[in-house]
Symmetry: C2
């Protein structure tokens, strides 16, 4: 989060309030609103039990236009059957009435406990207040309304030039557990005033997802509710981006910057996480193999607990690499922590214990694996596995 | 472990001693010896970084004969390169000399920390004592010598009749972490006096592995050292088992009984485990799909922490099933805990909270998932994820 910069995007209003979905009394209902209908692109969970709002949004995204996102925390409205779908529609209907816009321009998102009926009366009852409080500088408030086990709000804003026009991109995200590939966040909403055509927006957003939320893992668990949406309302007045151009490059790089940093924030704030571990796999024969090795390593509980214990027990990493299902020449595999070699030519390296123990005490550690088989690489961010992960998740529901 | 029965197998001697590989002073070197060369079958880890003793044993198993197993704990002799292989050979050479048998009849196994050089002098120096202490009732002592983070010894003995001859099967196992599919134990040695031909032994042992160690998971991590060996010395004097017969059926069922119970002991003693969770998947289109769903559920940290917290947060199970990669009709999926329904027709069931909270307090819980798509099923045993798992594994190496 860049503190010395206004967290606002021309043409966007936002707000977050509490309507009592969370017992804690914290904010649990958020609204993001574009003053004009915006081009929209979205990516959703690939979980076979998508939550009701995900099903609804998938239908609505067919038009490529949206003007508002209503999101609640504290209840995922997942595994709630037909009633859950009706509740998602009811949420959007109440917002459409409150904003006096078409209902099919509303997207809905939910996050929280799975399998409980949504307290729809509380939500509908809060819409007037929610709409009434919409404001230019309401993005941080909207972010608060989508947080669950998050300890820190996740907001990233950047500006760049498209030709002579300055455009703004602000993104919010929530997510700390159930963080895995294939859309590795619970919710993220990106607002921008850029003018861009549908085809370019879809393409660049997909690329940005692959570079950001699809390269992080906390616990290897995939949510039923993962939703990332970008709204581009075009009011910056730039020459519309319609294909490869300097403007497209600027926009893409800035979007990557926003989303990669949001994704890293999610891992840093991973449930119980005390360390951010960057896993870099190089020398793979294919991207698919590089990813397999990266996830096998990053999701190993033994590797993650060793990082929590500041223990350079690299044998567990070797075991995790070896069990990824990718065939390897063991003698050609190299393992480094922050450029310090641990494993070369099929065996461990001695004499680096002092350096290693310093590295293991750091909050950010890079684990680099060279497979020595080809030219493909993949980078992944993960966290360690601590007592607090167990504490948070053993007592989440009760 | 059946206490009211002698833990011994005709023709087998065993022993376990301490030679100082473990700092704790506990037993760390074990020997199992058959008075005559035995038919042998073995299954090893499929990890791409197999430990040195695994590489050696794979070569030696080609003959199908073995007479002794030397095994150490405290050091895995894995990721130790060519020197590690030489050390494994040196272990077997010393045992061959001590026992005055051919070196190629010795199998070697190691378990413990990965990547440290084996203290081969300590091991070789202890062989005279180890051999000298071999005895008929030494199996429990040998079991102690292969334990690492295990809290309880794992020994199962059974007898059955093959024709008019009674035969004995005793198995030992160690393993509490790095327990996953594809040979889900660190080490298990099975001794029997049955007379059986090589082909039948290979076949029935493979079947038993699939029913036992290949149906358990603790942490989803696959070891570099997994080794399961059966030695059948034939001195029971039964009519040799050479194909399908009543004798074969008796032997197989008894072997399954021994190995399934050893496997369950491994999960019960899983690092930090407080509960044994039986996952039963039914109604899959294929065994592969049933397994995918079972492992996705059983290895979910969110599911495992919920069991630890005695929290019937079944939404996490639905999320885990939905992220297994198996395509599903969500409305046809059913979820039960100990026959109490939690999820039917695409939504949660209300009104069973009291029953559920009782079930969640139990040490043994059955999770049953009916996919409603076909006739294939799979059963898997797993444990919960507790503070102690993190504690044990954050501080294992240091």
């Amino acid at each position: 989060m860049v503190s010395n910069m206004g967290i606002k995007v021309p043409g966007f209003l936002a707000n977050g309030i509490s309507v009592g979905i969370k017992n804690s009394g914290e904010k649990d209902l958020s609204l993001i609103f574009s003053e004009v209908p915006a081009r929209a692109a979205a990516v959703f969970t690939t979980n076979r039990f998508p939550a009701a709002p995900v099903i609804l949004d998938m239908e609505r995204m067919k038009t490529g236009l949206a003007q508002a996102i209503i999101a609640n925390s504290g209840n995922a409205n997942a595994s709630t059957g037909k009633d859950g779908y009706k509740d998602a529609v009811a949420m959007s209907k109440a917002v459409a009435e409150g904003l006096r816009i078409r209902e099919d321009l509303i997207l809905v998102a939910s996050t929280g406990i799975i399998g409980e009926k949504l307290p729809i009366k509380k939500i509908v009852g809060g819409i007037t207040n929610l709409v009434g409080g919409l404001r230019v500088n309401g993005i941080p408030s909207a972010e608060k309304g989508i947080m669950t086990t998050d300890k820190i709000p996740k907001i990233e804003c950047r500006k760049c030039f498209i030709g002579e026009k300055e455009i703004t991109i602000c993104g919010v995200a929530k997510g700390a557990g159930m963080i895995e590939p294939h859309m590795a966040t619970m919710l993220s909403f990106i607002m921008t005033d850029v003018d861009i055509d549908q085809n370019c927006l879809d393409k660049v957003f997909k690329q940005a997802i692959d570079r950001s939320f699809n390269t992080i893992t906390v616990d290897g668990c995939m949510s039923t509710n993962d939703t990332a949406i970008i709204l581009a309302n075009g009011i910056a007045g730039n020459r519309a981006i319609t294909g490869p151009s300097k403007g497209m490059t600027n926009f893409r790089n800035t979007l990557f910057d926003v989303m990669v940093n949001l994704a890293k924030s999610v891992v840093k704030d991973g449930e119980g996480a005390t360390k951010l571990v960057e896993v870099v796999i190089e020398g793979a024969r294919s991207l698919a193999e590089a990813k397999k090795v990266a996830y096998s390593l990053a999701n190993s509980n033994l590797v993650k607990t060793a990082f929590f214990g500041a223990d350079s027990n690299w044998g567990r990493i070797i075991a995790a690499i070896g069990s990824s299902g990718v065939s390897l020449q063991t003698d050609s595999v190299e393992l480094h922590f922050d450029r310090v070699p641990l494993f070369l030519h099929g065996r461990g390296i001695k004499g680096n214990e002092k350096e290693l123990s310093k590295i293991m005490e750091k909050d950010n550690i890079q684990v680099s694996v060279k497979l020595g088989m080809g030219g493909k690489s993949f980078r992944l961010y993960t966290s360690d596995l601590s007592y607090d992960y167990v504490k948070i998740n053993a007592q989440y529901h009760i």
